[in-house]
Amino acid sequence: MTTVNDALREPTADGRFGQFGGMFVPETIVPACQELDREFRSAWADPGFRSELNQLLLSYAGRPSPLTRCQRLSEELGVRILLKREDLNHTGSHKINNVLGQALLTQRMGKTSIVAETGAGQHGVATATAASLFGMNCIVYMGTVDMARQELNVFRMRLLGAEVREAKSGSRTLKDAVNEAMRHWVAVADTTHYCLGSVMGPHPYPWMVREFQRIIGDEARAQCEEMLNGAMPDVVTAAVGGGSNAIGIFAGFADTDAELVGVEPAGGAAIGRQVPGIVHGSCSYLMQDEWGQVLEAESISAGLDYPGVGPEHSYLASIGRARYVSVSDDEVVEAFILLSRTEGIIPALECAHALAWVVRSKSELAGKTVLLNLSGRGDKDVDQMMEIIS
């Protein structure tokens, strides 16, 4: 039986977390993935690189992000709730942690351009921001559907100097933006780094992005120890689309007794369906039909509108180290309003999923301490919510 300490370690040399992960990409970009694996290994072991990244996270991204004790919300639910405030980072979400790491790595590899995919636009905005900071060319692919529902982020990316390209194929959402970004990368991998936004894709991305995001969990652990007089939270929870904010906070608590709970949207619950598949470079649970055609996810949140999930989440589910649940769009809207009214914090729709689960499970969680990763702020979602609420 796998113990908790086996979880959230380095994958095998071939990029596997148990049966999940791997490098399922066209032959043309295998050398680029292998180069990235070598470069990341060497950079991550290099104190100079680590210190440069830490400096950026401090002075540019605004880390460490605070841990907020929620007085009124906790009273209302009967559950002690702590929020890890990734919404207070520069660009408004946890995405900046990963992007600064990958931008530094891009520079180290001597590449001059980055390409990225985006769903809600948070990763796209973060990538465009880093590209501007580092003076790199930046192209972001975004599905036509998402461009319409996240118009503001499209404008922000363009303002930052990025070229936003419409992903018009398939379902015209995040899944297709990934396809287009990969198709683009195949042709230009010698000069361009693919700045993937989540813990998905071919090896080494799921591992590398987790390492760039683990600062969330490492900080939160130290902050919890201080706030809880050395105790740990009973539950650590986060929303899961691709799963980078969740894996980031989980990573800090892998060797504790804390229960790890990932919350998927009901219309995009890849883990909930328990069927493995291969797409976008790795083997993981995947929403698909009986023939292996990938299904379109449907979620109120563009950032979670993805039919797959990072392979390490599939692994954590398969060994029982983390539990995955799903919530409906209606529950998410209620949670979005609740946090706004009780704590004066308008959350991104993505992390409102995690809160929606806490609200639904309040009797099960009564008296417990729950650490919730508030991965982003909700400014980008107010337009959409205006139509839904009023």
Binding site: E27, T28, V30, N179, A187, H280
Partner: protein, 269 residues
């Protein structure tokens, strides 16, 4: 020089057919057609065989064809809308044993993985398919599929790209069955105005490490380009140019005319 394929007792219908062309001093022409696209796709397959194809690639549509450009994507989506499934494409092929040239299925790993590699390989064999290309299974991920396909006598064709080291090209060539698929350029499928310089370079690099047939595809879209690259390679795979004709509704006659032009260009090489 012996190749790994020589040591195996399994079927090598595809490799034998292409080697036969090569040994006669000819160049191989392998067009790609999207399976399940339109009512007449099987008639197109027959017409293309009769017009001089040495083998035919049949695409099984996949929802996320990450190696393909807009033409093949469009054909994929259309075929899926028309109800094509791996089962329907393979069943129709099974009903047409009269095509007369070896068939090679091209699809993506998840189609085979979902069915199970063994079952997928068995259903290819049952449908008279000799080879299979899964472009998102590179060398590092191909072991399980290579074993399952070999057990059914299906030749697993591997892609070799210009970005690979010579050592990697050698290892790919050793593992590949049927032929070695040289990717003509760093990029996705689609017709280009000009043949990329990398096309002949990759052909020549592959020829120096293998005696298996080396066919170049991706970015080979006109008879001139096919003739040009075949001065070095043992032939070509032509996909998007064929599929564009299918999308235009050119029908069996239109496709056969085009194949004849490629055939003529290759026969002059």
């Amino acid at each position: 020089m012996t190749t790994a394929a020589d040591d195996e007792s399994t079927s090598n219908v595809l490799e034998a057919a292409l080697l036969d062309v090569k040994n006669r001093g000819g160049k191989c022409f392998v067009p790609y057609l999207t399976g399940g696209l339109g009512d007449d796709w099987l008639d197109i397959v027959r017409a293309v065989a009769a017009a001089g194809a040495d083998a035919i690639e049949i695409g099984i549509p996949f929802s996320d064809p990450v190696m393909d450009g807009t033409t093949i994507q469009k054909a994929n989506d259309l075929a899926l809308e028309q109800g094509a499934t791996p089962h329907s494409v393979l069943s129709e092929l099974r009903s047409a044993p009269d095509i007369g040239v070896p068939l090679v299925v091209m699809t993506y790993a998840n189609i085979a993985f979902r069915m199970g590699y063994k079952r997928f390989a068995a259903s290819l064999k049952a449908s008279g398919v000799s080879g299979c290309i899964l472009p998102d299974l590179p060398l590092e991920e191909v072991d399980e599929w290579a074993e399952a396909s070999a057990a059914e006598g299906v030749e697993a064709v591997l892609l070799a790209a210009p970005t690979a080291s010579t050592e990697r090209l050698r290892r790919i060539s050793e593992r590949s069955r049927g032929f070695v698929y040289g990717v003509g350029l760093a990029g996705i499928t689609g017709v280009r105005d000009k043949l990329a310089e990398s096309a002949k370079v990759v052909a020549s690099r592959l020829k120096s490490v293998t005696s298996k047939p080396v066919l170049v595809g991706v970015g080979v879209g006109t008879p001139e380009q096919a003739g040009d690259v075949s001065a070095v390679s043992d032939g070509v795979v032509v996909g998007s140019a064929m599929v564009a004709l299918m999308l235009e509704g050119a029908g069996p006659g239109g496709l056969a005319d085009s194949v004849a032009k490629f055939r003529a260009a290759l026969d002059q090489t």
